[in-house]
Amino acid sequence: MNFTEVELFGVYVAPISLMMAIAWLLLIAFRRVADHFTLLRHVWHPALFVFAAYIIILSSIVLVVAR
């Protein structure tokens, strides 16, 4: 397990904030792909779907780091 605080310009920030930022960047890439193949048009609630995808990505990052 490696959940130590990260130093950012002299300030120690919680590791989850960095993981959230990484998850967000991955989500942007995922959305680009989904938009390219018009996948979101087949989803009932696109915003909810994207949010769920974000939570899945973030949880996966946390699990990988925790291993």
Partner: protein, 688 residues
């Protein structure tokens, strides 16, 4: 000779900036810059007084002053007043909540979420600054709760003193902002409202008179103008609020000013009926009847005035009002046919509406000569669904952030709850703009955190006096305030002015703890982010759906008018439709606005006809026609109305009630034409 030499004189030429253009640019930027300076002055004064009084969290006074400041004086003063009311209600609510749930974390947190939901509902239900007051009552409770909550929820019992302190700090901020703004800005909302009212009244009157000169296809071209005027009348609402905020003498006349909008809607409805009827008539008959009515309209009201003349109406509304009063004599115009009766009556109703609008104009010009309105304004809810969606979203968001806080044991979770409540309640009334506004607000908050960090850790450690501190905060507040006064990304710059002081958290003994600052900034951004996410996942109703619902609800109410007890006046019905017209989204189609105006007319005529039919024992015939209206069977309704018209015509032409019967026949004609023109709308079955 070579090319280099040839080009040399051109390169040596110096281009000086165009000084006239520069001066013009500076002149146009001056009001915004002045506003930035005023905002900064108000924040400095509020902080100075709070430091002098040695209050606990002096920065709340500075934050309040920044939040209250608005680029227009009327808006600021009105906002300040409503902010005080909202703060007091929120403070009382949290004290009561704490007393109801001592040592009960779940009860307290659920109560807080329910209070937030109730305030979200009221913020959508009410309009303008009253809506702001309701929103403030919600998040004032959250602000005080965040101070009194322990590490993972549960009140600590100091609610009463915290409520008193926080309310005092907020009130100091409001008073300081009011004093600085009122002392340096003399306002222009009253004059702006007078000019807008005069322009609209003059334009509607002139175009109504102009309708009598048009025959044939030209009449249908005026439709788009009329529908645009409906939109412009709706836009008067916030200007009225600002004018009331600016002038204390107008506050007691608030119903009269609100009635001006009703007057203008009535004028537009009358004009619509006249135009539709002239369209239906054969051109030679239309010409003859139009000339008769036009002769009875005073010359002063007959033409669309130029901009300068319209402003004259604002200066001397009494003379125009007297001319309007003369035109009301149209109701007594001897008319032999229902068609002429309709034209005369609808023109008179339009001019009575204009006269009501001019009462408001008279009030603005000279309150001593103001004419008291006899109509009591009744409050109507246009549509319940958007209110329920907004309050449900506020409840779910606050509960979700509370759960997140409890589960993660995040030390700054209480601050996140506060800012989630602020975002989700404050931006709910923005409807389809709520998400983008909240996102802009979040970006603004993030930028503010960076600026606050620079000022706090790089500038303030070397500052020892209040003057130096004021100059340091001015580096951010003056430009942010100036940028807030322009139309681009207003929400982002509003976030910068509103959140800068709480992020900086100035105190008599400053603390330069980077970890604490980071936690506070993260909590604020996360709270606003949670609100933005809530708007994404539980989106407000789309403008198209809201418009469809408003039309369907109006049709349902219209059909209810056909049964039940006969209303004594049409005031209640008119108020209901005016509230729906005001609630129509900006994106509504002009045709949809016209359909609401047609429903207004049909409803008013139904109320009138039911009274008249009862008087002349024609209830059965009218009921048959109204039954067809209720069933959405337009052709049957028109046929039965024609039968009623024949029966009324068969009664004696002289004697008591002859004029009333003729007027009723005019009503039947107006109603039939409206039903035929908007058959697709009135035939809708789903709204029954």
């Amino acid at each position: 000779m070579n090319g280099t030499k040839l080009r040399a004189p051109e390169q040596a030429q110096t281009y000086w900036p165009d000084t006239a253009r520069l001066a013009r640019g500076l002149r146009s930027a001056a009001p915004a810059l002045l506003f930035g300076l005023r905002l900064w002055g108000a924040v400095c004064l509020a902080l100075y007084i709070s430091f002098w009084l040695e209050l606990d969290n002096a920065y709340w006074a500075g934050a309040s002053a920044a939040i209250v400041c608005q680029p227009s004086l009327g808006a600021s003063l009105r906002k300040g007043w409503f902010r005080m009311v909202g703060t007091a209600i929120g403070a009382v609510a949290i004290v009561v909540l704490t007393a109801c749930f001592p040592q009960d974390r779940i009860g307290f947190l659920l109560g807080l979420a329910l209070w937030g939901a109730a305030c979200g509902l009221l913020a959508t239900l009410l309009r303008n600054f009253a809506a702001y007051s309701a929103a403030l009552a919600g998040y004032t409770a959250a602000i005080i709760a965040s101070d009194e909550l322990g590490a993972v929820g549960g009140a600590n019992g100091g609610a009463f003193m915290l409520a008193i302190t926080r309310a005092s700090e907020i009130c100091i901020g409001i008073v300081c902002a009011g004093a600085v703004l009122a002392g340096t800005d003399f306002g222009g909302a009253r004059r702006r409202l007078a000019v807008q009212l005069a322009t609209l009244s003059a334009e509607i009157t002139g175009r109504l008179a102009g309708t009598f000169s048009l025959v044939g296809p030209d009449l249908s071209e005026a439709r788009s103008v009329r529908r645009d005027l409906v939109r412009r009348v709706i836009a008067l609402d916030p200007v009225i609020e600002e004018a009331i905020g600016e002038s204390s003498d107008l506050r007691s006349h608030s119903p009269e000013l609100q009635a001006t909008m009703g007057g203008l809607f009535a004028a537009l409805s009358g004009w619509r009926s006249v135009a539709v009827h002239l369209e239906w008539l054969q051109s030679d008959l239309a010409r003859r009847q139009a000339d008769i009515v036009l002769e009875n309209i005073p010359p002063k009201l007959r033409s669309v005035p130029a901009q300068g003349e319209a402003t004259d109406w604002a200066v001397d509304p009494l003379s125009v009002r007297q001319a309007g009063a003369l035109a009301v004599a149209l109701t007594a115009l001897p008319a032999r046919t229902p068609s002429l009766r309709l034209l005369a009556d609808q023109t008179a109703e339009a001019l009575i509406g204009i006269r009501r609008a001019l009462n408001g104009l008279l009030l603005l010009a000279d309150p001593a000569r103001a004419i008291r309105s006899s109509r009591a304004a009744r409050f109507h809810v246009p549509d319940l669904l958007p209110l329920l969606v907004n309050s449900g979203r506020a409840f779910v968001t606050i509960v979700a952030v509370e759960l997140f806080w409890i589960m993660t044991e995040w030390p700054s979770g209480a601050t996140a709850i506060t800012f989630a409540a602020v975002g989700v309640i404050l931006f709910s009334p923005k409807a389809d703009q709520a998400y983008t506004t909240t996102m802009s607000f979040m970006v603004g908050t993030g930028l503010t955190a960076a600026f606050a960090a620079i000022v706090k850790f790089a500038v303030l450690p070397d500052v020892t006096t209040f003057a130096g501190f004021s100059l340091a905060i001015g580096l951010v507040l003056v430009p942010a305030g100036a940028l807030m006064a322009q139309p681009w990304q207003t929400a982002m710059f509003t976030a910068m002015t509103a959140n800068f002081v709480p992020l900086l958290a100035p105190a008599n003994q400053m603390s330069y703890d980077t970890q604490q600052f980071y936690n506070a900034a993260l909590a604020i951004v996360a709270g606003v982010g949670a609100a933005a996410l809530a708007f994404r996942l539980l989106p407000p109703l789309s403008p198209a759906l809201r418009t469809r619902r408003l039309l369907a609800l109006t049709l349902r109410d219209l059909r209810r008018l056909t049964t039940g007890p006969i209303a004594r006046t049409a005031n209640d019905w008119e108020g209901r439709v005016y509230s729906r017209l005001s609630a129509l989204p900006e994106q509504a189609e002009p045709l949809q606005r016209a359909q609401l105006m047609a429903a207004l007319l049909v409803g008013t005529e139904i109320i009138r006809l039911r009274r008249v039919a009862h008087r002349f024992d024609q209830d059965a015939e009218l009921d048959a026609a109204l039954d067809a209206v209720a069933k959405g069977d337009n052709s049957a309704a028109t046929e039965r109305l024609a039968r009623l018209d024949k029966r009324l015509a068969a009664l004696r032409h002289t004697g008591p009630g002859a004029r009333v019967r003729l007027r009723a026949r005019g009503s039947i004609l107006a109603m039939s034409e409206a039903l035929a023109q908007h058959a697709a709308y009135f035939d809708t079955v789903a709204a029954r």
